[in-house]
Subunit: 318 residues, 2 copies
């Protein structure tokens, strides 16, 4: 054995190490360059909504006459094969609820006429917004993306301009709502909270009460959240919301709820616990399976001149 041999091996190994570190640095630099590059001059950099249409429903102003406080239900949505069915299903639930104004905030840059037509067809007073996600939040190369934040902030900006009383509630279009929850939240003084079923691996998210008093939280992901609650698990009164100017929802994945409630300076004493002291489940965080991309089979020329051409117009064909 020559004495130089092991030394040569060490030299090669050191070179490899140096190269590996250099390669790592290059990869990181390119990664962050790409992450923070891209179109910064964009018309969608603000969450302020383009208010497209506001409609008082088939009964007009008269239909909104009632002694009940008005309910503002905020629903973020976006174009996908399930969009119309989801809105249909939720709409048919909301049709049972009196004195309700539905704020449908679309993550889109142009009006989805199918959505507007559907909303008009069911006769609920509604406002339809375009609230596209600002591009700077629309890509994240690791972790999760914040969801529905531009939609909800957009609708809340509208509320700050147009609402004076009543209660607001965030109702995603794939959740399931027992009608009783709308009766319960109607008279929220500041903030109300209640259990949500089918959330995370625990299958439930709820405040924990002992003898009717708050003692903690039950949720599959508590982490460092001050309010580890689901978006569907609380409602806020409009006067309380208006009393804290400019409080909005942060663009931080997983911290949308707690961030918003923190921004509103909510304390435990501000919270009413509903649903029979949080012993009933009236809201479920159901998820609809994403449809496999609809095939292009429907586009086949052999179907020209048939009903498939009209059906295709209302589908998302990929």
């Amino acid at each position: 054995m020559r004495p130089s041999q092991p030394l040569g091996l060490l030299t090669v190994m050191k070179k490899v190490q140096v190269l590996a570190v250099l390669l790592g640095v290059v990869v990181l630099v390119v990664y962050f360059m790409l992450l923070f590059s891209g179109p910064v001059t964009t018309t969608t950099s603000t969450a302020f909504p383009v208010v497209v249409t506001s409609w008082l429903g088939e009964y007009g102003v008269e239909g909104m006459q009632s002694d009940l406080p008005i309910l503002y239900v905020i629903t973020p949505t976006y174009r996908r094969p399930e969009q119309i069915p989801e809105l249909t299903r939720l709409g048919q639930t909301l049709m049972h609820v009196p004195k309700l104004h539905w704020l449908v905030a679309d993550d889109a840059t142009s009006v989805n006429q199918q959505v507007v037509d559907y909303l008009k067809s069911i006769g609920i007073p509604f406002t339809y917004f375009l609230t596209p996600m600002p591009q700077k939040y629309s890509r994240r190369w690791f972790g999760y993306l914040p969801k529905g934040v531009a939609n909800r902030n957009g609708a809340m900006m509208w509320l700050r301009l147009h609402a004076t009383e009543g209660v607001m509630y965030m109702a995603d279009d794939d959740n399931t709502y027992d009608l009783r929850i709308f009766q319960e939240i109607r008279h929220t003084k500041k903030v109300s909270m209640f259990p949500v079923g089918l959330v995370t691996h625990t299958g439930l998210s709820t405040p924990v009460l002992r003898d009717g008093r708050w003692v903690g939280w039950f949720d599959g992901w508590i982490s460092d959240r001050v309010f580890p609650v689901d978006m569907a698990g609380f409602a806020v009164s409009i006067p309380f919301f208006l009393s804290v100017p400019e409080a909005e929802m942060p663009y931080i994945a997983g911290y949308e709820e707690t961030g918003f409630l923190n921004n509103l300076h909510v304390t435990i004493d501000d919270i009413e616990f509903l649903a029979d002291n949080c012993t009933k489940i009236y809201v479920w965080h159901t998820h609809t399976q994403k449809s496999k991309a609809s095939s292009r089979e429907i586009l086949d020329k052999k179907y020209d001149g048939t009903n498939l051409r009209q059906l295709q117009e209302v589908m998302v064909v990929n």
Copy 2:
């Protein structure tokens, strides 16, 4: 090299082959023994339902007075974390439909009181059945299992005994129904058909019409089915159904619909095409994601004496 060596290898290979074949035979024999063995004396070997409760709703007989033909909506269901939310969502849609009798057929051997209580709470006339799947169909070690057949056949047996007029429609609890479909099927003469969205990879199942006349089928899986339609894509008038005694749904996965329509001796001439000559989608075959098994965290003793004990009662905790 010794000449016996290759010969020895061949002998070993032959022995291995014989052993492999023998092993295969043993595996197959054991497989079929297990497949066709098991409890054959079971109380659940018939699809005839145990009728548990029938209720005319909060308005009683009076509520069913109307010139409209009655709609019988058959919904198969089974115990799972999503069962109550799904029935809640569908129930809130059906609450909008006049003169409807909801036939809820549970794949269970004992009453799910939560389901019965929910049905009573929404005020729709309903009949709740126990229609457990016969055990001989409940395991299949390859291929697919027939789904909801005992439920639907059970409800249809009840219809043969109790119904004289009106229309029946199979409405799974996770589908989405635009209210317009219930208006459309109400006056079905024999069999009506219409498009169903979000089915298979084509995203649509529908009769194909040219100039208003039937020319074929569009569905992601045509195969050798005479009627390649989805369960939610047709309705049958009660008089037509009663005119073919004993026609029921076969226990053949994938052939439930076409088998049933064949058993009814349906021909193309018997079919009315609804939804504006099959140019509109009023029904979607939405699927709700199965919840991950709820964790047992809620059972932790530290929650004794809190609201979690009541919440746990209405959950499916695995």
